[in-house]
Amino acid sequence: MARKSFLEAIRDAQFEEMKRDPSVFMMGEDLATNLFGTTTGLAEAFGTERVRNTPISEAGFIGAAAGAAMVGMRPIVDVTIASFIYPAMDQLVSIVAKSRYLYGGQARLPLVLRLSLFYGNSTAAQHSDRPYPMLMAVPGLKIIVPSNALEVKGLLKSAVRDDDPVLCFEDAGLWSSRMEIPDEEEVLVPIGKAAVRREGRDVTVVALAASVSESLAAAAELAKEGVSVEVIDPRTLAPLDVETILRSVRKTGRLIAVDPAHRTCSAASEIAATVAERAFGALRAPVLRVTAPDTHVPFSPPLEARLFPNKARILEAVRTVIGFDPAASPRRAGA
C-alpha cells in the first residue's frame, strides 16, 4: 500500500496503462510542463512522441484523437479544465460520439478525455463549469465522475481499456485528497457500476465526485441523531447504474440527489426523474435535488462558496424529507 493523492493516482494509472499497451499515448496542452502533477516522469519514460505536447487547438487535437483511435491507437487526451472542451464541441458531439454509429460499427473509438471540474476556487464563470450533464444527453459518450484517489485510478485504467469514448471528469476539490492505494495488485473499477458507500435504511443520498465525501460527512452526523442514510456513488453517469439506485430507494423510500452541476437538467435531475418513473410507489417523500442553482459561478469568494452542495445543505435536505408527513401533504389532504 502507498498513500497517494488523487493527482498521483491519475499519473500512476496513465503510467501503468502506457507501460502495458504500446497503443496508448497522451496528448494535451503543457503535458511536458506537468502543470498539475498528472504527467510526472511520463515523457522521460515513454518519450515525447507518446507524451505529446499540443498547441492550444482543442478542436484539432480532440478530432485527431478520434482519427488516431479509428486506426487502432488509444489516446488519452488531457483537456485540462472542463470548459476547454467547448471549442471542440463539434468534434466531440459530431465525430467522437457519432462516428461508430454513422459508419455502422466499422469504427472503434477507444479514447479517453480527461477534464477537470475546476470550481470553488475563484476562477469565475468561464473556467468553473461542470458540463457533464449536457454531455449525458449525447448518446455514444461514456462519462465517469471519480470520487476519490482509488476510484480515479481504477476508473481511469478501465476507461483506457474500454473500446468506446470515455470522458473522465476530475473534481479539482479532490486533487490533494489522499488514500491508501494497493501497489501489489492492479486497481480496476468497472465502468457502469455504482458503489454503495454507506448502507442505511431511512434516506438514499446519491452523490457524485466531491459531493460523495460531503454526503458521507452528513450521514455520519445524522447517524448520531438516529437517522440512517445510505450513500450511493454512481461513479459512472453514462451509462447510469439505475438498478443500484432503485434498489436503495425501494428500501429507504426517500431520495436526495446531490450534484455540483447547475440544477436544470443536472445529473441529479435525471436521477430524480428515473426514480419518480420507476420507483414512485416506494417513495414516502418528495425527491429533492441538492445542486448549484441556475446562476453563473461568480468570482467573489463569499458568493461562490454558497453555491455548491456541502454537508450543511445535504443535512438540511435529509432533515426535510425525514420530517415530511405524507398525510399532511396537500394532495392527500384534498383527497
Binding site: 483511435a69 479509428m70 455502422g104
Partner: protein, 334 residues
C-alpha cells in the same frame, strides 16, 4: 504509352465513369423519392476525386465530406453496399445508419465522411498521426472544399500536421461555391493554396479537370509524405454542375448562366476520353468500360432495392460496442 500506363488510364476512366453513372442514377432515384433525404452530387469534379484516390495505395487512409459519393468509389469501394446505404437498407455499407453524407468503407481505407463542414480535417490528421505512431508508411488523404477552408478546423489541422510533419495530403476541392455562395466573395486570398505558406508547407494549384495532373501531383505529395517530409496542401480547381443538393428545395437553385456552360466544355470525363482515344486506346475498349459500369450500377440499384430495411432493434446497435438496452414500453418508443 506503356502497357502500365494504359492500364492506369483505363482504371482512371472506369472510376470516373463509375462515379458519374452512380450519381446520375442516385440523383434520379432521389428526385422521385426512392432514395430518402438530401443528396449532394459532384458531377464535374470526378477528375480530382479519381486522380487523387488512384495516387494512393489501397491501405492508405482517406477522409471525405458531405459531397462524397465519389470518394469511396474512387478509393475502390464496392458499389452494391454504397447504393444500399443511400436507400437506408441493412445491406448498406454503414448498415443504413449514415446515408448519403456519411459513407465509409474501412476495408478500402475510407474512414468516413462528415457532414459538418471542416469537421473531417482533424480526423484525417489523427489518422496520419496514428499511422506514424504505429510505424507504418501509410498516408492519409483529406478531401475538403473551399468552404471548409474558412473553418477554424482548417487552421488547426494544417498547423498540427505541419508541426508534427504528419503524412497527410490536404486536397481542397475548390468547386467555386459553398452551398450557393461564391467562394471568391468569402475569401480575401485568391487561392486556398495561398494559405499553405502560413503553415510552412508546400501549397500547389492543379487543374482539377485533368485527372492525370491531379494523379501526378498527389502521387508526388504522397511519396514525400511517406519519406517523412510532412504534409502538403493541394488545391484542385474544379466545378460542380448541379445545385447544392437534390431534395433540399428550390431555395438552393442558382443561375450560373454562361459559367456553367463554360465549365461543361471542360468536363473531366469527356476530356480524358478524347485523350485516351488520341493515345490509341481503342474506342471499343472505352465503350466496353462504359457498358460494364452501366451494368454494375444497374446491379447495385437492384441490390439496394431488393434489400431489407434494418430491424428497429438495430437503431440501438453501434452507439457503443455493446448494444444499448432496448427502450422500455410504454415510456420509451413505439
Amino acid at each position: 504509352m506503356t502497357r502500365t500506363d494504359a492500364d492506369l488510364w483505363r482504371e482512371l476512366y472506369r472510376r470516373m465513369v463509375r462515379i458519374r453513372t452512380f450519381e446520375d442514377e442516385a440523383g434520379r432515384l432521389a428526385s422521385v423519392g426512392e432514395i430518402p433525404g438530401a443528396l449532394h452530387t459532384a458531377a464535374g469534379q470526378e477528375g480530382e476525386v479519381v486522380g487523387a484516390c488512384m495516387a494512393l495505395r489501397r491501405d492508405d487512409y482517406m477522409v471525405g465530406n458531405h459531397r462524397s459519393h465519389g470518394h469511396p468509389i474512387a478509393k475502390g469501394a464496392a458499389l452494391r453496399p454504397l447504393m444500399a446505404e443511400l436507400f437506408g437498407k441493412r445491406t448498406g455499407v454503414c448498415r443504413g445508419k449514415g446515408g448519403s453524407m456519411h459513407l465509409a468503407d474501412f476495408s478500402v481505407g475510407s474512414l468516413g465522411e462528415t457532414s459538418i463542414v471542416g469537421s473531417g480535417m482533424p480526423v484525417a490528421v489523427g489518422a496520419a498521426l496514428g499511422a506514424k505512431l504505429k510505424g507504418t508508411d501509410r498516408v492519409t488523404l483529406c478531401f475538403f472544399g473551399d468552404g471548409a477552408s474558412n473553418e477554424g478546423t482548417f487552421h488547426e489541422s494544417l498547423n498540427l500536421a505541419a508541426i508534427w510533419r504528419l503524412p497527410v495530403i490536404f486536397l481542397c476541392e475548390n468547386n467555386g461555391y459553398g452551398a450557393t455562395t461564391r467562394a471568391s466573395t468569402v475569401m480575401a486570398v485568391a487561392n486556398v493554396a495561398d494559405r499553405a505558406q502560413a503553415y510552412a508547407i508546400p501549397g500547389s494549384i492543379v487543374d482539377g479537370q485533368d485527372v492525370v495532373l491531379v494523379y501526378e501531383e498527389v502521387l508526388a505529395a504522397a511519396e514525400r509524405a511517406r519519406r517523412g517530409e510532412g504534409p502538403a496542401l493541394i488545391e484542385a480547381k474544379t466545378y460542380r454542375y448541379a445545385d447544392h443538393a437534390v431534395n433540399l428545395g428550390p431555395g438552393f437553385a442558382i443561375d450560373r448562366g454562361e459559367e456553367l456552360a463554360r465549365w461543361r466544355q471542360r468536363d473531366p470525363i469527356a476530356l480524358f476520353k478524347a485523350r485516351m482515344l488520341e493515345a490509341a486506346i481503342a474506342q471499343t475498349e472505352v465503350a466496353l468500360i462504359e457498358a460494364q459500369v452501366a451494368a454494375e450500377v444497374a446491379d447495385a440499384v437492384e441490390f439496394a432495392r431488393s434489400s431489407p430495411f434494418p430491424s428497429f432493434e438495430e437503431a440501438f446497435e453501434d452507439v457503443f460496442v455493446e448494444r444499448l438496452p432496448l427502450p422500455e414500453s410504454p415510456s420509451g418508443c413505439a
